[in-house]
Symmetry: C3
Subunit: 420 residues, 3 copies
C-alpha cells in the first residue's frame, strides 16, 4: 500500500519544512501551513492575541528575522542563518556588546553532547538567549567582547492553526493532530506532519469524518478545544502524531480512558508490528489537553521512539538525516492499519445462532481466500457483545481476515450488524 514512493514523498516534505523558523506563533508557522496546503487543502485559522481560550489567553505573536553572536573579528560565531535552533524561542529583541561573562546566562549548550545545539524556548519569560554547541562555546574567549543581536518582534498578532477535513458517511469524527511549533526538529515535529499529510491524501470516502489539526503544542490544542467545544462530543477516536520518523520501533501511548476504541485498535496494530504499548501519562504532546479530565477524549499518542527517549531529542541532531523513508513508511502503514480497524470494526449478531449453520450450501466452506477459522470465530462470538477487533484479538487471526469473513457471512445473511 505504501511502497517506497510514500516514504520518499514524506521524507521530501520533512526536508522542505526543516529550515523554516517555526515557533508557537508567527510567520514560520504560516509558511509551514502554506507548504502543507500544497499537498492537501487547509482551512487556516488566525486567533488574535489576548483571546481567552479555556484557562489561558492567546499570547503575543513572535517573529524572528536575524540573530547572531559576532566576535571582534566580525565573524558570526553563532548565526541564525545556519539553524533556526540558534535563537531561544520567544526571545525579546537585543542588540548589545557584552563580555563572555555577561553573556553566559544567555547561552545554552549541551555539555554532554558537545557537538549539538539544543532546542530551547522561553514563551512566558520575557528574556532572550542563544543556543550553540558546547564546542563553539569552548572556542569563545573570556577576554573578548561579543556583539549580540536578536532581531525579533514580540507583539500583538495571532496564533495560527489549520484544519483539513475528509468528510465521512457516518456521524463520528476521527481527530488527527500534529504540533507545528518546533523549528528544525525533523523526527519530533516534521515526521508526524508528513505522516498526517500522507494519511489525508490516502483517504477516500471513509465511514468516519477525519479532521486533521496542525497547531502549536499546548496553546494550539487549547485554542482548538476552546473554539470547538461543541464538536468534541463527535470525536470517536483520535491520534496525536509525533516523533514519527526515527529508526526505532513504534510506541502507542493509550488515552486516559485506556480502553477506548482507538486504544484497542492501536494496541492491536502496534503490538502486531512488534511495537510497544504504554499506559497514559499526563506528559507528552497534545493528548495532555485532549485527555484532560473535563474532555477525557479517546485520543492516544503514536510515536516511534518516544519523546525524551532518544539522544537526538530536542537537539540539532534531530535533522532530516535522522529520519528515514523506511521509518516514515512504517509509521504510515501502522496509522493506515489503525484507520482500517476504526473503519471496518463492527459488531454483529449471528442470525443462525443455534448450532453451526451449514456453511457448505452457502459456499462458505473451504472457500479459497476465506479464513475458515475466522468464519467459525465470527459466527461463535457474534452475539452483540464482541466486535470484530475483539474477535481478532481472541482468535489471534489478523483483523483483515476477520473483517473479510464477516463481510462474507453478512452477505450470506448469517450475521447482521448491530449498534456501533
Amino acid at each position: 500500500m505504501t511502497g517506497t514512493g510514500a516514504g520518499e514523498r514524506m521524507h521530501a516534505l520533512v526536508r522542505r519544512l526543516h529550515p523554516l523558523h517555526r515557533s508557537m506563533t508567527g510567520d514560520g508557522v504560516r509558511q509551514t501551513l502554506e507548504i502543507i496546503a500544497e499537498e492537501v487543502p487547509l482551512t487556516v485559522h488566525e486567533v488574535p492575541t489576548g483571546t481567552p481560550v479555556l484557562d489561558w489567553q492567546v499570547p503575543r505573536e513572535w517573529n524572528i528575522r536575524d540573530a547572531y553572536l559576532k566576535n571582534r573579528a566580525g565573524e558570526r560565531v553563532v548565526d541564525l542563518a545556519r539553524s533556526p535552533l540558534h535563537v531561544v524561542g520567544y526571545s525579546v529583541p537585543v542588540s548589545r556588546t557584552m563580555t563572555l561573562a555577561e553573556l553566559r546566562g544567555h547561552l545554552h549548550t549541551l555539555p554532554d553532547q558537545p557537538e549539538l545545539v539544543p532546542y530551547r524556548t522561553s514563551y512566558y519569560g520575557d528574556t532572550w538567549g542563544l543556543c550553540l554547541s558546547e564546542n563553539t562555546l569552548r572556542g569563545l574567549r573570556e577576554d573578548e567582547e561579543y556583539e549580540v543581536l536578536i532581531d525579533s518582534t514580540l507583539a500583538d498578532g495571532h496564533l495560527t492553526y489549520a484544519e483539513h477535513v475528509v468528510e465521512g458517511s457516518g456521524a463520528g469524527e476521527v481527530l488527527i493532530e500534529c504540533h507545528t511549533c518546533h523549528p528544525a526538529l525533523a523526527s519530533e515535529t516534521l515526521a508526524g506532519i508528513a505522516v498526517a499529510v500522507e494519511l489525508a491524501r490516502s483517504l477516500t470516502a471513509p465511514r468516519h469524518t477525519y479532521r486533521f489539526v496542525f497547531a502549536p503544542g499546548t496553546i494550539g490544542s487549547i485554542t482548538w478545544l476552546a473554539r470547538n467545544r461543541d464538536r468534541v462530543e463527535h470525536i470517536r477516536h483520535g491520534l496525536v502524531l509525533a516523533c514519527a520518523g526515527d529508526p526505532g520501533g513504534l510506541t502507542y501511548k493509550r488515552s486516559r480512558r485506556g480502553d477506548a476504541g482507538v486504544d484497542r485498535a492501536a494496541a492491536h496494530v502496534v503490538a502486531a508490528r512488534g511495537g510497544t504499548v504504554v499506559d497514559f501519562t499526563p506528559f507528552g504532546y497534545d493528548e495532555r489537553q485532549f485527555c484532560s479530565p473535563g474532555f477525557d477524549l479517546p485520543v492516544g499518542l503514536l510515536t516511534r521512539t518516544p519523546n525524551g527517549a532518544f539522544p537526538e531529542y530536542h537537539t540539532s541532531a534531530d535533522d532530516p538525516g535522522f529520519v528515514t523513508a523506511e521509518a516514515l513508511a512504517d509509521t504510515f502503514t501502522a496509522v493506515r492499519e489503525i484507520v482500517e480497524v476504526l473503519e471496518e470494526n463492527r459488531t454483529y449478531v449471528n442470525l443462525s445462532p443455534y448450532g453451526e449453520p451449514q456453511l457448505g450450501r452457502r459456499g462458505l466452506y473451504g472457500t479459497p481466500g476465506l479464513d475458515q477459522m475466522a468464519i467459525l470465530w465470527v459466527l461463535n462470538l457474534s452475539d452483540g457483545t464482541h466486535d470484530l477487533l475483539a474477535i481478532a484479538q481472541r482468535s489471534a487471526i489478523p483483523f483483515a481476515a476477520v473483517a473479510q469473513a464477516a463481510r462474507a457471512l453478512a452477505a450470506a445473511a448469517l450475521i447482521k450488524e448491530v449498534g456501533t
Copy 2:
C-alpha cells in the same frame, strides 16, 4: 478408585470397537451402540433422512460392504478388509478399471508419514476415494490398469444416536457426549467412549442427572440439540470426551462461557493433575455446537493430547496399541474427580459469623481426619458468595478436604447450605 481393572476393561472395549465400519450413519454405528449396550443400557434413536435439524437436514445413510483396488495379477493392493480407513467415508459406489493416472485424484496418502493410512471423508461431496499408505502408492505401476470397487450404498435411511441416563435426586443435568462417527481411531474416538461407559457404570444415586449421548460428530449433536431444545435449559454442566487414551497429559478446553461451573471444576482437577487448561475455540468436537451462541451451554472438552496435536491423529497409527490402559485410567480418574466436584460443590453461609465459633466444645478442634485449616477457611469464606471450590482454590487445600470440613461444620449446625 480405578485400579488397573478399569483401565484394562476400557482398553478391551477400545479393542472390540476398533474394527467396525463406523461413519456418520449406518450399520457400523449401530453395531458400536449394540456393544456399548452390553455395558450400560442405551436408548437408541433413529432419525429419518431429510428430517430438518436446526440449520441442517439429516443426510442420507451410508453403508459400506467392500472396497478394494486390485492389480492385474488379481491382488487386492488396497482392501477394506484390512482396515475401515481404506475407504473415504460416504464414497459413492464405483466399479471400474482405471489407469493409475486416472486414479490419482481418488487416492489419499500421507507423503510425510509414508507408512500410515489417512482418515478421510467426503460427507457432502458425492464423490469417492480410497486411502492408502504412501508406500503402497509408490508400489503401484504407472503403466498398469487397476480395478477399483467400492460396494457402498448412499440412500435414504436414518441417523442413529443413543442415550444412557443415570437419574439424580436434583433437578440439574450433566451432559457427557462422545462422537461415534470415526472408524478405527482408537484414542481419538473410542477411548472417549470407553471412559464415558466406565463413568456411567460408576455412578450410583448421584445428585445431578447424568445424560450420556453417543452420536456422530456435528450432525449428531445438532440432531440431538434440535430434538432436545426444551431440555437444554436443565443442563448445568457438560463434558465432551475425545482423544482420551494417548500417553500424553490431560487438556481441558473451557466452554465458551469460560468460567462455568464445569470450567472451574475441570480446571481445578486438571491443573492439580499436572494437565493443561486452554480457552475455548470454536473448533474441535461437539462443544462447537453446544457452545454455539444461541445455546451457549456450559460444556467443555476433556482430552489428553488435543486433536491435531499428535502425529497419530486421524491416521492408522491411532490404533489400540497407541492407547494405554494407564492413560484410560488416568482420564477416567480425572473425570471422576470433576464429577465429585460437580456433585459435592455447595455454597454455605456461616451461622455463627461474628468471631470464630468455639470449635473445641463441638469436637471440631484438633479432630483427627479433619483439616483444621479447611475448617477455618470454610467458616471464614462461607458468606453465601464463595462455594467450596472457590474455597479450595483460594486456600490451596484439596477439594475433598474442604468438602469434608464443610460436612462436619454443617453437622455441627455452624454452616447452612444456601441456594445452588
Copy 3:
C-alpha cells in the same frame, strides 16, 4: 522521624515487659498494662468469668506463683523463676513426686532445637505441664523420682484488657490491636506492643480517632468485639501488630476484604520499603476475629517475619536479644507512613478540568520543592474517582510528593476535596 531514640525506647520497653508472667488472664497481664500506662494513659477493662462473649464465655482467671521440677538432690532442674515459659499456660495446680516415666506426658521439649524451651498452653484442657529444653530433659535420670510443683490458681476472676484512645477531628476510627497473652516472647508479642505505644505517643491532633486495644489473643478480641458491636461500624481502618521486632523484612497480610483502604495504604508502604504483601488467611492473630464474615472489618496484620516462619517463633530464643532497635524503628516508621496515608489520603475534583490550567501564573510551574509530574498527575486524575493513593500508585511517585502537590493545587483553588 524516628531516629535511634524511638528504637532504643521501644527496645527498653520490650526488655522491661519480658520477665512478666503473662497468660490469657491474670496478674501478669495487669502488670503489663500498668507498665504501658506509664507511657500512655489506659482505660483498663475487667470482664468477669462466665460473661457470654459472642459464641464464647469469658474463662476462669489463671495465676501462677511458682513451678519447678526438683531432683533428689533438691536442685530445681526446671524453675519458673528462670523463665515464664517453663510452665504450660493454664496448668492446674500440682504437687507430686513422680518418676520420669510418669512425668514424660507432662514435659514439653523441642527435640529439633535441643537448647530451647518451647511455649505451650492448655487453655481449655484442665491439665498441666512443664516446658524445658531437650538438653535438660536428656540430663534427667530414668531411675530417679522428681518432685513437681505447680503453684497456680484457676478460678473465677476476670479477663483484663485495656484501651488508649487518641481523639481525631473526624468521624472515623482506626483500630490498632496487640495481643498481650504470651509470656516471654519478645518479638512475637512485646515488639508489637512497643510499636503501638510509640505510635500512640506520636499522634497529635489526627484526623481519624485512633483506638489502641491491648488484649489477650482470640478471647480478648472476641470480648472486645462483643462489648463494642455498636462501635465497629465506625472502624474505617485497622492494623494488628505482632512479630514486629525481628531483623527480617516487613510483611503485610491483607484484610479479608483484600482492597480496603488500609490494605491499599499498607501494601503501598510495605512494598515501597521492600517488604512483602500477602493475601488474607483465616489463621494468625486477632485479624481472624475482626475479619470473621459477620464483622468483615478492614483490619490487616503487619509483621516483620510472619508467625511460624522464623525458628525462634514460640521458643525461648524469641528473647530481647532477638529483637533489634533498628527493626523496631523500621516497623514504627512503616506504621507511621501507613498512618500518614490514612490521614492524608483524599479524593479531589479538578476545578479547571478543560485542558491543563496555566500553572505559571499561579506559581505552580517549576516551583522548587514541588514535583511537577505530581502536579500534572493530580490535575489529570482528580475527577472524584481517584484518591491520592491511587494517583501515587499509578504514577509511581511517592505518596508524600503527591499529597504535597495536592495541597498546593488546593491552595490555588485548582482542585477541591470531595466526599471521603
